[in-house]
Structures are given as structure tokens and as C-alpha cells.
């Protein structure tokens, strides 16, 4: 396997009033292509900040972030937006679906950023909904779906444009155990069958078991790595 993501000596600071707080001070990380990594750690350890840096929704103050051999830390806002659209799928704890759109329309959103013709878009949306076993809910709006179903729509949205990387921030944090396991099995399936690289932030050790390996982040450094 080759590296999909490399963080080299990354630093990130936050300013709280006049005080600067270092979240990362020389963080290094390598994620291989096709890996499924769980990141755990206490609140405030920098898990979400790490996910933001990996997803290009936040910027590091120093160091390098390399994605598939290309440095993305120097990208402009526009370049980062285009990179996110083609390379990263996002799954959030609270699904973050558009309430005014149907499941199919929510899934179609990332395809609005492509030049695919309408027919091809519809095909891709159907395929993505089929993968998450929600074809029969395509015309339902989020409020007409259960939490688990909404998260499945969010997963379909994340994979519809066939990105190399999926970033999941507490994807089961709002779900009961059984539903959470269903979602995690879906992520595992995406990793094993479609070769998606997945990085999942979670507090839940049960959820972490679905990953290939778990990284423990504490005070801005990886304290422990378990397979």
C-alpha cells in the first residue's frame, strides 16, 4: 500500500483572547490508501481539528499536508473547495442533510459540482442509494426518515462522487447501538469492497473495533497506536 495522506510536522494554534493555544506542535501521520482508521481521544485532544485539516476545511499554521503525493496545505480557498469536491466525502455526527431536499436530491448535491450529464447523475445517485440500501426512500425528505436512514443518506452523499477519502466525524454518535452497528458495517463494506480510505473520529470503542487500526490522540500527539 502507498500513502494517501501524510502529515509532516504539522502545527496548529488557536487564539483564545490574547492567549495562543497550540493544538498540534509537529504532528506526523501517515494514512495508507485503502486503510480504515479510527481516531479516538478525550475531548479537546484535537480529533475534530485533525479531521478539519485532513478534509481541507481548516488550515495548518506550519508543516505539510500531502494528499496522494500532492501538497494541499498551500491551496487557495477555491482550490481547496474543488479538491474537497473531487477527493473527499464527509459524514457528520448529525447527518447535516438539507431539510428542503429529498434523499435523492441530498445525494445529488456533490454531483452539482461535476460536469456529469443529468442521466449519469441520476444513475450515480441510484447506485449510491442502492449501496446504502435506501433506494425505496429516494423521494423522502430527511424529516420522514429515521436517524439511521438519514445517516445512510449522508453516506450515500459522501460516496456518490467516488472520492478516495471518507472522513467521518462521530458518525454513530447520535444513533442507538444496533443502528450504529449497521452504519459501521456499511462503512466497513465501503472500505473492504470499494477500497475507500476511511478516517473516523469516535469516542466509542465499539465503533473503533470496525476500523483496521485505531490511533489515540492526546494533547495534540498520538500517544498510542493499536492494530
Amino acid at each position: 500500500m502507498s500513502a494517501l495522506i501524510q502529515l509532516n510536522n504539522v502545527t496548529k494554534n488557536y487564539r483564545r483572547g490574547k492567549e495562543g493555544i497550540a493544538i498540534f506542535d509537529g504532528l506526523n501521520l501517515t494514512i495508507e490508501k485503502g486503510d480504515f482508521v479510527a481516531i479516538m481521544g478525550p475531548s479537546g485532544s484535537g480529533k475534530t481539528t485533525l479531521l478539519n485539516l485532513l478534509g481541507g476545511t481548516d488550515r495548518c499554521d506550519g508543516g505539510q499536508i500531502i494528499f496522494d503525493g500532492e501538497r494541499i496545505d498551500g491551496y487557495s480557498e477555491g482550490q481547496l473547495a474543488a479538491w474537497r469536491a473531487r477527493s473527499v466525502g464527509f459524514i457528520f455526527q448529525f447527518y447535516n442533510l438539507m431539510p428542503v431536499l429529498t434523499a435523492a436530491q441530498n445525494v445529488e448535491l456533490p454531483l452539482m459540482l461535476t460536469k456529469l450529464p443529468a442521466r449519469k447523475r441520476r444513475d450515480n445517485v441510484e447506485t449510491a442509494l442502492k449501496i446504502v440500501e435506501l433506494s425505496d426512500r429516494a423521494k423522502h425528505k430527511p424529516k420522514e426518515l429515521s436517524g439511521g436512514q438519514q445517516q445512510r443518506v449522508a453516506i450515500a452523499r459522501a460516496i456518490v462522487s467516488d472520492p478516495k477519502l471518507l472522513l467521518a466525524d462521530e458518525p454513530t454518535g447520535d444513533l442507538d447501538r444496533n443502528t450504529a452497528n449497521d452504519i459501521l458495517r456499511t462503512l466497513q463494506q465501503l472500505n473492504r469492497e470499494l477500497g475507500k480510505t476511511i478516517i473516523m473520529v469516535t469516542h466509542d470503542p465499539e465503533a473503533a473495533r470496525f476500523a483496521n487500526r485505531t490511533l489515540h490522540l492526546d494533547k495534540g500527539t498520538f500517544a498510542e497506536v493499536t492494530a
Binding site: T57, G78, R84, A85, L113
Partner: protein, 389 residues
């Protein structure tokens, strides 16, 4: 799905709010459409029939005050004057003073028909018949159509000013012609009859007239001729004020006040109120959607594209309200134009320039009301947006 679909769905996520906002904008554009059209019609009416070579001589005190008829011949003798006629406001109505008033003048037919041949379109036969018939009256086509009047018919025309010796206010007049205007949009809600017929049967103001119309050899001579006329009657009991026709017509219309100013102020007040309401509501609506905007940016929608969508919502909202408001005002104006009382103001139907101005105003309103939420969506950082509770 297109960006427009997304804009439309977002705009109607709270239908009641959107409907109420649309109604507010609709009201503003209804006011704009009605008042601006009225103003345009009045300005057009003051310009139509106005000639650069014609002057109007009226009493210096006020144009409602009379002048002696003897002035007509004295004015005709002033150098530069090539034609003279006179007219007197009759305060005409038919049967019901409230609902059937129209412009009515007692004139000297022969000279009036010469000076206003281009503005009052009659056949030669009708013109000759009007001049020959002492009780003759020529009526505009819109009045004739309204009451079904025909040439040869005798109709009682009443005055809200003059009274006959027997106390009646009505004069029987024989229709000798039905005239049209120089342009289809010119008002024809008017009638003209013999001054002599009025003067002989009237109980007051004998041998007095309303104003004198003067044709000059050239518009270049207007200032000089006007000064000469006013100088000729200076220090007399009936001093004169001589101006070109357009100025006179505008002064006539300004009896009701400076309509341009009033219309501008009313429309501005309506739009200022709408601007505040729509801006505040859109800012609040956008704040509710902060997280969604953060998600869209996370998915890869660029900040300029998000800005365009937010502006698009404001533009769609203002355009909907504007199109509805302008359409309804155009419909009402079209109905009013058919009423002879209203057609005194000329053609009230909405002019293309009013519709175009309305649409430009709608775009401006959309851009202004959408500017703050769009700018905040543009600047919004993804991390802050997603962390918003």
C-alpha cells in the same frame, strides 16, 4: 437539480414567510406601478398637443382668472404673432357631475380649428359643420364611445361653473363631429363648442375668456413675443402671463401639487420600509441556515457560488413580488383607462418605461436586500459554521 432549483427550494422552505414577504414587495410595486404610471400619463398629457410654436396667454393672477375677449385682437396685432384663438374652461359634465366629468372648452371654432388642426383630427365636413352650427359641439372619440353618441345627435352638456338666466346649468349641443388625437395615446376625453353660444346665454362673465392661444412665426421668437404681449397689458386691470404651452400645461397639472415630488416621496417611503423588512428577514433566515451553508462549503461549493445562490434567493423574491405588483397595477390601469373620468389624465396604461424601471428596481432591491446575508455567507468559515448551535 440545478442551482436555481436549490435557490427556489430554499426560498420556499417556510412558505408562509415567503408569501408574506412577497405580498410586502407586491404592495410596494403596486404603489410604484400605479403612481409612476399616473405621473408618466400626466407628464405625457402635458406634452401631447403642446407645440413649440404656441404660447398661452392667461391672467397674471392665476390662469383661472378671466381675460377680456378684446385682448384677442390686440394680441393678434403684436409682431411675430401669426395666429390667435381663445378658449374658456366650461367645467363640463354629462348628467352626473361626479362620474361623467370631462375636459370641455368654449372656443372660437374657426380660429381654434386652425391653430389645433393637427391635434384635433376631424374630417373636412365635420370641421365645416362645427364652424357653421352655432350650437355645434365636437366630442372626443372616447366620450362618444362611452355614451354611444353619434354625429347629428343633440346632447345636454352641463357646466359646474356657468348658469343660464333660467337657472339651468345645461346647454343643448348638437354633435357635429367626433375627433381623434394626433397619436392613439392622446386623450380624447374632451369636447369643444362655440364660445358665442355660451357668451349669449350665460349669466356672468360676459365677453370674458379663459386664455388666449398664440401661434408665433417661429419658436425662436417665443420669448420675445411673450414679453411683448405681457408688456402690452402691463399695469392694466387684466395683466397677463404668457408662457409656452408645455409650461402652461404643467402648471395646470400642478394645481394638485408637485406630483413628481409626491410620487417620488411615496414610492421611496414604500421601498425604504420594504428594504428594512426584507433585509432583516433574509438576514435572520440566513442565520438559521448557517450550518447548511457550512455543509455546502464542506462538500465543495465555492464561496462565490454560495454567494450567488444567496443573492439569487433575494433576487427571486423581489422579482416575484415586483412582477406580481406590476402586473396587477397594469391590469388596474388598463381598467381605469377605459373610464372617461380617468382618461382625462390621458392614456393611463402602463408605459414600457415604467415596467422596465420597475424590473430594474426589483433587481436593485434584490441585490441590496441580499447583500448582507450573501456577504456573511461568503465570509463564513466552515469550522465556525459547523460549530454553530
Amino acid at each position: 437539480m440545478t442551482d436555481f432549483d436549490l435557490v427556489r427550494k430554499n426560498l420556499f422552505r417556510k412558505p408562509l414567510r415567503t408569501i408574506l414577504l412577497t405580498v410586502s414587495i407586491f404592495m410596494a410595486f403596486l404603489i410604484f406601478g400605479m403612481l409612476t404610471s399616473l405621473n408618466v400619463a400626466l407628464n405625457r398629457a402635458s406634452e401631447s398637443g403642446s407645440s413649440a410654436e404656441r404660447l398661452v396667454v392667461s391672467n397674471k393672477i392665476n390662469f383661472t382668472q378671466p381675460l377680456p375677449i378684446a385682448y384677442v385682437n390686440r394680441i393678434a396685432a403684436i409682431p411675430g404673432v401669426t395666429g390667435v384663438t381663445h378658449s374658456s374652461w366650461f367645467g363640463a359634465f354629462y348628467q352626473d357631475q361626479r362620474n361623467s366629468r370631462f375636459v370641455g372648452f368654449a372656443v372660437d371654432p374657426a380660429t381654434y380649428m386652425t391653430l389645433y388642426a393637427n391635434d384635433i383630427r376631424l374630417t373636412d365636413a365635420e370641421r365645416k359643420a362645427f364652424i357653421a352650427e352655432r350650437t355645434g359641439v365636437i366630442v372626443g372619440k372616447s366620450i362618444a364611445d362611452q355614451y354611444g353618441w353619434k354625429v347629428g345627435q343633440t346632447v345636454p352638456i352641463s357646466s359646474n361653473i356657468y348658469v343660464k338666466p333660467d337657472g339651468r346649468r345645461s346647454w343643448d349641443m348638437k354633435i357635429t363631429g367626433i375627433f381623434t388625437g394626433a397619436k392613439p395615446t392622446d386623450s380624447t376625453a374632451a369636447l369643444y363648442f362655440h364660445y358665442d353660444y355660451l357668451n349669449e346665454t350665460n349669466t356672468f362673465g360676459r365677453d370674458q375668456i379663459g386664455n388666449v392661444a398664440v401661434r408665433t412665426a417661429s419658436s425662436d421668437l417665443n420669448t420675445q413675443v411673450a414679453k411683448a404681449i405681457d408688456a402690452a397689458f402691463a399695469n392694466s386691470p387684466y395683466e397677463t402671463s404668457t408662457v409656452d404651452e408645455k409650461t402652461f400645461a404643467q402648471a395646470f397639472l400642478k394645481q394638485a401639487g408637485d406630483l413628481n415630488f409626491i410620487v417620488t416621496m411615496v414610492v421611496a417611503a414604500a421601498f425604504a420600509a420594504i428594504l428594512m423588512i426584507v433585509s432583516t428577514t433574509l438576514v435572520s433566515a440566513m442565520r438559521e441556515r448557517t450550518k447548511e451553508i457550512g455543509v455546502m462549503k464542506t462538500l465543495g461549493f465555492s464561496s462565490p457560488r454560495v454567494l450567488r445562490m444567496v443573492l439569487g434567493e433575494a433576487l427571486l423574491l423581489s422579482t416575484m413580488g415586483a412582477v406580481l405588483g406590476l402586473a396587477v397595477s397594469a391590469f388596474i390601469l388598463a381598467g381605469l383607462s377605459k373610464s372617461p373620468a380617468a382618461s382625462t389624465f390621458g392614456d393611463l396604461s402602463m408605459a414600457p418605461i415604467v415596467a422596465l424601471s420597475g424590473l430594474l428596481l426589483a433587481i436593485t432591491l434584490g441585490l441590496v436586500t441580499g447583500a448582507i446575508p450573501a456577504a456573511s455567507a461568503l465570509r463564513m468559515s466552515i469550522v465556525d459554521a459547523l460549530n454553530r448551535r
